[in-house]
Amino acid sequence: MRHTALAVMLVSILAPMAAQAAPAPAPCDLLDQQMLTALNLGGADTKVEHKPIPATAKAPASRMDVCTFTPHVGSASTLSLMRIPLAKGAPPGKPTCNEFPQDKIGIATCNVVTKDGMLTVSLVSRRAGFETLSAALRSHFDRLFAPGSARR
């Protein structure tokens, strides 16, 4: 009985502290499973990094949050999402995507300004199958971040 009361007390003290200490949502959470599956990255390993951005004459120092998705097995493709905080009131924009394939590697990127900051998603994959993956990236990025979508 005494143990139960003690446990209840501990939980009631620690739970709010744990909730307060919870980190900000990771940039990985901005992409969904549907998109990752379409890019053959369902169940991929994720790595979160925070990189400093030095101040310039026109912008204060900032940081870039990075989430990188890599497949469990093999190295067919890598997807990374970068988020840069923007001053409040920056107007959201339309998603734009580009490709710049190289000799043996295909690269596709998509950018958008949202309420969460400026997001850039970049796919690096082997040339074989790159066009299909790039088209999937574009369509899922539009689905998630076009004006009126849930992530805006």
Binding site: K51, P52, I53, P54, A55, T56, K58, A59, S62, M64, V66, T68, S75, S77, T78, S80, M82, I84, P85, L86, A87, A90, P91, G93, T96, N98, F100, Q102, K104, I105, I107, T109, N111, V113, M118, T120, S122, V124, S125, R126
Partner: protein, 102 residues
């Protein structure tokens, strides 16, 4: 106490010798592949860094909000380095896989 019969000991010894031959062949080919793959990956990094810088700078310049544009441009070097590093890894692994498994 006899742990291995004569026959199973011979099999084990053969398997061990085969594993040593295979692993030393792999090590030789790894050493042969490594410099070329590192060079190829460096080239891929440089190409990608230039490509990402150009592409991201164009995107930043297309932003109409001045503070968003400045923040975006300030992040271009960090962004290009981050992305080109992914390309380096991809190019290096892909090259080494193709080279050491021939």
């Amino acid at each position: 106490m006899k742990i291995f019969s004569g026959k199973s000991f011979k099999s084990l010894a053969f398997a061990g010798a085969l594993a040593m031959v295979v692993s030393s062949a792999y090590a030789i080919s790894w050493a042969e592949c490594q410099p070329g793959c590192q060079q190829a990956a460096n080239n891929a990094y440089n190409q990608a860094y230039a490509g990402y810088t150009t592409q991201q700078t164009n995107y930043c310049n297309s932003l109409t909000d001045p503070s968003a544009k400045s923040a975006c441009l300030a992040a271009v070097p960090a962004y290009a380095n981050q992305q080109a590093s992914n390309v380096y890894t991809q190019a290096y692994n892909s090259c080494m896989n193709g080279c050491t498994h021939v």
